[in-house]
Structures are given as C-alpha cells and as structure tokens.
Subunit: 352 residues, 2 copies
C-alpha cells in the first residue's frame, strides 16, 4: 500500500477548513463539565475517524475466534461496571509548534463514563498458544492517507487477557449511544482512546505483530515521517482545571472577583495512580488537595483555594503519578501530535 | 455600555485559535446522523455562549411575571410533546467570504429532538395590557464584546402567546441534559436557536422593545458595523444531505461505487412547510421524493436515487417552502454571518 504522509502545518499556518470540519463533527468535554464524577454521554469527548456506522443490533453478531455471539448472548454473561477515564491520544495536538494537521484538539478530548459489559478474557479461552496479537475490527470504514480500511487495532495477548478489559454494551446505565459504539465496543482501561474499538464486529488472533494502518502508521510517536516510531499505548499523567469564574464568549478568557476562589478539576493516568497535583499561579506551584481515589481507572478530583489578587494571571495545573511521571510545562514535539500531556494554562482576569 | 465591534476575518485569514476553541467545545450534528427522525441528545448541535451553568433543580424556581414555580409545579401542568427542528442562526457562517469571526459553523448546527414541557401562554394570563416584549433570562453569564450579561432574549407578545411555545423539561423522554438547559428551557418552534433560552430563570414583560445585547446587537442581519440591522427571527428553508458512501478521514471527501446510490437527508423551514427539495449533480437539479410530513415544526425526510458515474462530482441540495422561498446557491453576505442558508455542497469521488 502507498501511504500518504501525515502533514505538519507551516510555522504561521492557522487552522484549515479541513481541520475545522473535523472539530465541528467531533467534540471535546466543555471543561466546566469536569464538575461531574461521571461525564454525561453528550459531554464526553468524541473522536470518530470515519462516519458513525448504522448497525442493526438484532442482525449484528460479534465474532470472537470464529465463535459468534448475539447481544443477548453477551448480556447473559457476567456483567461488570467500571468507571474509566478515556482520553484521545491526539489531545493537545493543536497546541504544538509546528502543529501536526489532524483533529485539532486543544485540552478537552477526555471524559469519564460508567461502562457496563462483560470481561473479554473468558471469551479468549481458545486462544492459540502461539498467538501474539489480538485484533479488534470495528464496523467503521473509510480512507486514511490513501489507505481504505475498516478501523482495526490490536492488543498484545497479555493486555487482551487482563481481567479489566471489557466488551461494553452500556454507558452510564443505558445502551451505548450510536456515537460511542452501539451496540458494542471495547474498553481497555488505562489506554488512550484509539484502543477502545467502537462498533466492534470481530476479534481474531494472529501469531505475529499486527501491522494495520492504525497500529503501524497512525498512532505512533516519531520525529521523522519515514521512521517507524514508538506505538502509543497508555495514558500519560494529566490534570485539567475547570476554568473558574465566567468567560468572554469569543476569547474564553476568564473573569473572577478578587478573594478566595475554589479551583477544582480532575487528574488521571494510565500507568500508575495519581500521586499529587500542583496548581500554578503565574509560574509558582502549590500542592492541591486530592479527593480520595475511587475506581482504579477513573480520574481523581482535586481542589485548591486560590487567593486571587486583581490583575491578569495565568493559572496552570500539573499531575504526577505514583511512579514519578510529571506533566511537562513545555511539550516534547512529535510528528503526529500523540500522547501530549503539556500542563494546561488558563488566562484569568481578576477584578477588584 | 461600550460595545466592541464584531470582527470580520481578512480575506486570506484562516480559522484562529479562538474560533477553534469554540468549535471544540460546541459541536454540530455529524451529518450521517441525519438518518434519525429524532436526533439522539449527544448528536444534537450545541451552541453555548458562556459556560454550562450548574443549576440545583431542587432550589431552582422559575419566576413568571412575579409568580414562582418549582419544577414539580410545572410538571403538574398540562404536558405537551413536540418534535421541533432547531438550527443555530450562525450555521454556515464559516463558509462566507469574508468570514465573520465567531463560532465557526460549516453546515452542521442543527438537530431535531422530541421536547416535552408545558405551554407558556397560560402562565402569561396576567400579562399587562400594555406589554410589548416578553423577556426570558437564563442562568448563563458571561461577557460578549465587552458587555457583561446574563443571557437574555425577548419575544414580541404575539409570539410569546403562541400555543406551541413551550417551557421544556425533557428531551427525547428524559430530563434535559445539562448542556441543553437543565432543568428548564424555552422552545419557540420555527425560530433560530438563539430564541430557545436555556437554563431559564425568569420571564418578565415590558412596555417597550427589549434592547439587551443578544437582541439589539448580536443576532442582527446587517452589512455595516454601525447600522442597527434587522433582527434574526425564523429559520429560512434549508436541506442537508447525509453524505453518501464513506469518507477520507482528513478531507471528509466521500467515496462511492458507480451505479444507483440512494441519497437521503432532511429539509426544514420556520416560515412555511417544505414544498420541495432538489438534488443537484454538478449543477443540474432534479426533484427529490419527500416523505409525508410529520410534526409541523419537525424536519422532513427526502430521498433521491443518483445514478453515479465514475469520476469526481459535486452533489448539492436545496429546499423551497410553500411560500416560494428557495435556498440560494450563492449566499448573500452579512456582517455577523446570520441566517445563512446557502445550498450545501458535497464533493464525491465515484469509483468504477
């Protein structure tokens, strides 16, 4: 196959109509919605590569290693509900310089829902002993950089067999909405969004590494167009602040009144639990107070009281996980804008 | 008050980060979702001027002409469910030349939900005889062009007293989600979205025209910055096609196979019923087949079989209402990009 290159915007190039078209159909979490422990479905971020496929759930079957399951078959299996924070691997991409041209996320490609489904591992009991990768195929179909494809991603066998990997048919207690993968999606807690295959149709195994487009080409961290790069896997630590006060419509600049301001937000990480979160005011960092942890793969709430003094300020926030990973203040660049976790910045005007 | 001017982009100016920030938090209807008679809530377009306010529904009261109603009070009144198509008055703005700088919609700021609530008119029985405008105030608060404000819009008394104007507490059979105005919003069938005030707090009457920012400044059709212009009211006729085939991820160009292709979509108008819809292929127009009308303010489905021949084509669609209003192929320009209903264009590559 001939694969077109990913494009990097010119140094002074603003957002293109192509990027705008993606931003208008996909969408992020409006950051004030960080107030919810569980994100309402219509506020959860969405990244849909092609179109939302129309799947007739009655006729639909999931093929797992050649065995076929109806939705009722899957619902009859043991059910698990887990709160899992999902984040798009391209989150933050539009803040890089130069900017990789793709879905132009700023900070907001995240959400935390309550997913209900059945563990995948028991359905993989017949996995061949020489299996290397488990491949997941969705019903969504399109072209990317010249390659026509069904959306496909793989997990190494050890990851696919984790007991917390789920075949999910409900979100926040209701059937999956069309845009989140109806009738069935994969949820791989801790991994960036590209792993959580939606509109899932089949699960197969193979004795060699899966080299499909979304695995070998798209979700890679690399500096040069022609290098293989490193695959994107788990979510790096990140914290986001619910911007305080009220906004200007166009610039989204925030306005607050001087005095104590309760800042709050959420922090998450796919490698290790969040250990601490710092809130920065004009570059000086202070420890935030963390709420008790809840589900192992759900985000953790933090808060911090800021004594706001009149004038223009820049708030910031950064998380550190239990293994010492901290968010960078200046983001290392990569060509496709993957796994960015640069600390958020929120400009605020404080009025007397 | 000193009001900043609305800005118009330079002729060659691409989308700015401010516009992108708006596009990432608001969102349109992914056009493949035109297949649904009733838009699922998370796919319905959203335009939120400031932040989604957090409203405690137990403590919340609606003040109507000095009388206070709890949510239970309103639910105890006669309930009506109506299917109503809403469209943002700024839809299509980003396709104008030069481009007004604001929420940068292309085609997709539309949706059709099933709204349940109680008619407003009976609650206006005590309207003073000299009332001119009925003013609706939401809980959303922010700054626009230098003016700090609660979101407010007014209706002339005759419109406010229409029996189909509703105080709405449910969308598609469930309580309003936060982003659609929880716990209560106004629905004014036939009018562009700015009239359907969300997070509604109070309804007042006054004996003179309401001159608030969103009425007298923001939602106006005008050519020059310093003219008063004409207020935006009802929705002009429009049709949108569900783009056929499958897309390229980045450009959204469509690919279909040669032969008969079933094209379908929806058409709507706030002035008069849709009378006919034409589908254009490379500039030649053909009449589409309309499904029977449903609710008077819901969109109407159309379909047309296109005999697709190999090569690159441009599909188009335009609606005409029962009073002879037809969508323009070239959009008349206005400074704030309001009430645009230029015919949609969909580039398609047909493969042999």
């Amino acid at each position: 196959m001939t694969i077109g290159l990913s494009r990097v915007a010119g140094a002074e190039e603003d957002i293109s109509l192509d990027e705008l078209r993606l931003a208008a159909r996909n969408h992020g979490l409006p950051l004030e919605a960080l107030r919810y422990d569980v994100t309402p479905e219509g506020l959860h971020y969405l990244l849909i590569h092609y179109d939302i496929p129309h799947v007739d759930a009655d006729a639909w079957r999931l093929d797992v290693l050649g065995r076929r399951y109806s939705l009722d078959d899957l619902r009859a299996l043991p059910a698990v509900t887990a709160r899992v924070t999902l984040e798009c691997a391209g989150n933050g991409r539009a803040k890089l310089h130069p900017r990789p041209v793709s879905q132009p996320w700023l900070d907001e490609a995240v959400g935390c829902a309550e997913w209900t489904g059945t563990p995948l591992a028991p359905l993989l009991a017949d996995l061949p002993p020489d299996a290397v990768d488990v491949v997941f195929t969705g019903a969504d179909h399109g072209v990317d950089r010249g390659v026509e494809q069904d959306y496909q991603r793989a997990l190494p066998v050890a990851e696919a067999l984790r007991e917390d990997v789920l075949l999910v048919y409900a979100m926040n207690g209701r059937p999956l909405p069309p845009q989140h993968g109806y009738p069935l999606r994969l949820v791989v807690p801790g991994w960036y969004g590209m792993a959580h295959v939606k509109w899932l149709c089949s699960v197969t195994a193979q004795d060699h590494r899966f080299e499909g487009f979304q695995q070998a080409v798209a979700y890679r961290i690399k500096q040069e167009a022609d290098e293989d790069g490193v695959p994107v896997t788990r979510i790096l630590p990140k914290a986001l602040l619910a911007p305080p006060g009220f906004p200007d419509f166009m610039t989204r600049r925030r306005f607050v009144r001087a005095g104590p301001v309760l800042l709050h937000g959420r922090a998450w990480c796919g490698f290790a639990p969040i250990a601490h979160v710092e809130v920065g005011v004009d570059g000086g960092w202070q420890e935030a107070k963390l709420d008790p942890p809840t589900d192992p793969h759900a985000w953790r709430r933090f808060e911090h009281v800021w004594d706001a003094t009149p004038g223009d300020h820049e708030l910031s926030v950064r998380a550190t996980d239990a293994e010492g990973r901290t968010q960078p203040v200046d983001q290392p660049w990569n060509r496709q804008g993957m796994a960015n976790n640069m600390a958020q910045r929120v400009p605020v005007t404080v009025r007397p």
